[in-house]
């Protein structure tokens, strides 16, 4: 029994960064913007969090720095995809390259540095679960949520009603970046707690895939993320019995399986109508 509980606890810790980042992406995509830069924003957030916590000695300052760094990184994507109306998919990809590169470059001097006061993993996990409920409530039961959803479904109609489409999309994108930054802070302040180049190891991409799989519903994301977490844990526990490379590749393979399943069930019909399309006033 105790073993099951400890296994579940580990699964939740593994799943927390995926959940935090996916919650952000749910909001972003609900507003009609696709941001494939999650992996890069997570890396930037992880480095900023670690650097701030290490130099100030205060891990909470680290969390703030991580969240801010993620938000700033996301605003680059918002500018390019909302204002300049460029291809959102490629812009996100560029943001990932930039984020991974920048964090690897500037984080060079923090490799191997110890962190005196790491944070507890469970704090982040519970915060993520609470946030998923809050996001669900806001999306479906408040005016703000209605505004975000209508901007994502039909930006032209929302604009005609006098809603600030650009502003809402900006806000949502930056929120998504802050959540990715928080996920990064979890990795470098609680989960590891240390900094290394490439420590996000594809978690950001898994979060993007999860967003599609859970059909843009924040509460479902909780179960999805912890399911992935459980898999990571199993892979970890099975080491030695199977080739470790096979187990390490498993989560990535699972993402493909999950996306295929989502497509088979036509879940993508749930996608916001205006997803990934830049909005320009005067066009439909």
């Amino acid at each position: 029994m105790e073993e099951i509980f400890s296994a579940l606890a580990r699964a939740m810790a593994f799943g927390t960064p995926i959940l935090l980042a996916a919650l952000g992406e749910v909001v972003v995509e609900r507003a009609g913007v696709v941001n494939l830069g999650v992996e890069g924003m997570m890396a930037v957030g992880a480095l900023a969090a670690f650097a701030a916590a290490q130099t100030s000695g205060n891990p909470f300052l680290g969390v703030v720095a991580g969240v801010l760094a993620g938000g700033i990184a996301a605003s680059a994507h918002a500018f390019v995809s909302v204002n300049l109306r460029a291809n959102q998919f490629v812009s996100g990809l560029a943001l990932t390259m930039l984020g991974l590169g920048l964090s690897g470059l500037l984080g060079n001097k923090y490799v191997g540095a110890p962190l005196e006061h790491p944070l507890a993993e469970t704090g982040f996990t519970w915060a993520a679960v609470v946030l998923s409920i809050v996001i669900w409530l806001v999306l479906y039961f408040t005016r703000t949520g209605l505004v975000v959803r209508s901007v994502g479904e039909n930006p032209a109609a929302a604009d005609a009603l006098g809603l600030e489409v650009y502003l809402v999309r900006y806000g949502a994108t930056i929120f998504g970046g802050m959540m990715a930054g928080l996920a990064g802070a979890f990795l470098s302040l609680a989960y590891r707690p240390s900094w290394s180049d490439g420590m996000t190891s594809g978690l950001g991409w898994i979060a993007v895939a999860l967003t599609i799989f859970v059909a843009w519903e924040s509460i479902r994301a909780v179960f999805g993320a912890f399911f992935f977490g459980l898999l990571y844990h199993l892979a970890f526990r099975l080491q030695g019995r199977l080739p470790s490379e096979m187990l390490l590749a498993l989560p990535y393979l699972l993402v493909i399986v999950v996306l295929t399943l989502a497509a088979l069930r036509r879940r993508q019909g749930n996608a916001p109508e205006g997803l990934g399309l830049p909005y320009e006033r005067g066009t439909r």
């Binding site: 494939l36 890069g40 680059a76 500018f79 390019v80 300049l84 109306r85 460029a86 291809n87 998919f89 490629v90 812009s91 990809l93 560029a94 943001l95 990932t96 390259m97 930039l98 984020g99 991974l100 590169g101 920048l102 690897g104 470059l105 500037l106 060079n108 180049d197 594809g202 991409w205 993007v208 895939a209 599609i212 080739p243 490379e245 096979m246 390490l248 590749a249 990535y252 393979l253 993402v255 493909i256 996306l259 295929t260 497509a263 088979l264 993508q268």
Partner: protein
Amino acid sequence: MVRLEFDPNPPGNRVWLVMGLAVLAAIALSSLIFWSYGVPPVTAYLTLFKGTLANPAGIAESFRRAIPLLLIGAGLSLAFRSQFFNIGAEGQLLLGASAATGVALFIPLPAELKLVTMFLAGFLAGGAYALIAALLKSRLGVNEILSTLMLNYIAVYIVQFLVNGPWKGRSLMGFAYTEQFPAAATLPVIGGTLIHWPTLLLGVLLALFLQLILNRSTIGYELRVVGENLEAARYAGINIGRTVLMVAMLSGGLAGLAGVGEAAGIHKRLLDPAQISLGYGFTAIIVAWLARGNPALTIFTALLMGLIFAGGDVMKLNLQMPFRVVDVFSGLLLMFLIGSEPLARYRLKFGRRA
């Protein structure tokens, strides 16, 4: 009075001008990165210039790096023209290298057939790997960006499994790699450099050939229609699924060829994935984007990005900067390139509104 006017079909020279400005902006912003790393930008640029353009060894290095970029970039420009966003070239390259290694080490063949078979196997392996994502896209509508990216990670573990497990060589020095290829399975290089010229020649020929296909054949026409207007393609009775599969096979196959070149020309064995490819698959996206989807132009843009790679090496050696500096520049460049693209669709108008 100056104002902006929308121009949906910008003339070619304005597009190139805006792109040139985007490249300059990315270079200018990189100064900020060098500075934040504690390297004075002037020193950085001087070191870069001395180590690459002003140095024969640097130029040779740029050519060597340009070879995989050219092969992958030519294929990707075709893929992007048809709106198939193949981000998995990195994995397709690794599979190509693995297939070549399998042929080189384990299949007994007459010496003169060895290399040809390796290139064929690499093309098929890379193409088949891309085909997985293409099938999922055309049959079920699975986003190919995500699936090809995940296939990259899986390819890394496949190679790691091979070099640590069944294909592990005897000569170990703390690093895992396979046995060295027999002489008949290695590519000749230009004396004193690492330029494996047969692959370079193959890349140039293929880039020109793909351009010909794109501009002068029915397949190329169909591919462009699918990319520019899916609805029109459907009305015209173009087999969209087949087009996507073909583009995937070609772009994946070319990435596979790049992998064969790296394995047979540079390393002469299969080794850790991080050493086989330094992110060629991702940088090649920029190569294709800079060429605006024209395979023939990737001959030049691949050289340009090869120069950036060589520059990364110089920065690493002389200024002790991590090689990641290349990713930073690539990311900036791509961001500026796509951000500036819509800007080309506006023209400055002087004078009063008509």
